[in-house]
């Protein structure tokens, strides 16, 4: 069973990564590159105005380096093909990771994996890890002002866990008490409030940021839909392969 789950997750993660990587190159990566030009300008201005400004501002000194000034020496993929290759690789690893989690949830819920149940769970995955956190912390371009990383990661994690549990209580348990509890869980992180920073010195046009947020959510939706559909399809495929294999042995 574990072999079948791992195989189906590998196939689903790979197919989803192929689709999502193409969409990222077409839709989101060009906006990230444009934003980095503004980010670089802001970084230069900051280092001119005050030697300490770079420590305070979340601006980046070079085109792609991040965080504190020491980070400039860290390895990073060279622009162009190498950077695209690493983006594709990260999408593949992330896609397989998400597909494994989807497969584990499917098994825990005792649902027979099919393209239909896979798609339903994929949409739930999108709502949980993409849409719910994005309502408080919208997908952001490099160089936009933001709260401390640890605070944002903690809120992100809390929102994902609460939304996932909430959806489970609403969609799987489905009795009035659990539905009410699920709604409370889904809403609570947003009432607590996301660590969003509104003030910014960034010259980045708002239209780029808005377009990026919408496109990023669109890419996530398709990423998750393909993971779910492909997982259900591949699960069946490996089941048939195994049973016909057994028959030929017998």
């Amino acid at each position: 069973m574990i072999i079948r789950l791992l195989s189906a997750a590998l196939v689903a993660g790979f197919l989803a990564a192929v689709v999502a990587t193409g969409l990222q190159f077409a839709l989101t990566s060009p906006l990230i590159l444009k934003a980095e030009v503004y980010e670089e300008q802001a970084g230069k201005q900051a280092s001119l105005s005050s030697p300490f400004a770079r420590l305070i501002m979340p601006a980046h000194g070079d085109a792609h380096g991040h965080g504190d000034p020491g980070a400039a020496q860290e390895w990073e993929p060279s622009p162009g093909l190498e950077r695209m290759a690493y983006t594709g690789l990260a999408t593949l690893v992330g896609g397989v990771g998400y597909a494994l989690l989807l497969g584990a949830v499917m098994l825990a819920l005792k649902r027979e994996p099919s393209p239909e149940t896979g798609l339903a769970l994929g949409i739930a995955g999108f709502l949980t890890v993409a849409l719910a956190p994005a309502i408080g912390l919208p997908p952001e371009l490099p160089g936009m002002a933001s709260a401390a990383l640890g605070v944002r990661q903690a809120w992100w994690l809390m929102t994902v866990v609460a939304t996932g549990l909430g959806l489970y209580l609403i969609a799987v348990r489905r009795v009035p008490l659990t539905i009410a509890g699920g709604i409370v869980l889904i809403v609570a992180p947003h009432l607590a409030g996301a660590p969003l920073v509104v003030d910014t010195d960034s010259k980045l046009p708002a239209a780029y940021a808005a377009q990026f947020a919408a496109r990023s959510l669109g890419v996530s939706l398709i990423f998750w839909a393909v993971i779910g559909l492909a997982y259900g399809w591949a699960w069946r495929l490996f089941g048939e392969a195994a049973s016909s294999g057994n028959r030929s042995h017998a």
Binding site: T28, P58, H64, H66, T87, G94, G97, Y98, A104, V219
Partner: protein
């Protein structure tokens, strides 16, 4: 007799699926952590554009 066999099989497949769930969850969380959260600068830089697009809190 047949009932015992059936229940043994059920518990065997239940423990098999529990094991599969645990392995898949640990592996899946590990991979997602690596691409989305790992603080190592080299990993961050490699996965940078993916992190931004998939809305992981970044830098």
């Amino acid at each position: 007799m047949s009932t015992t066999t059936a229940s043994t099989q059920t518990s065997a497949s239940a423990s098999e699926s529990t094991r599969a769930i645990v392995i898949a969850v640990l592996l899946g969380l590990g991979l997602v952590f690596m691409t989305g959260f790992a603080p190592a600068m080299a990993l961050h830089n490699a996965a940078h554009d993916f992190r931004h697009t998939q809305n992981f809190p970044c830098h």
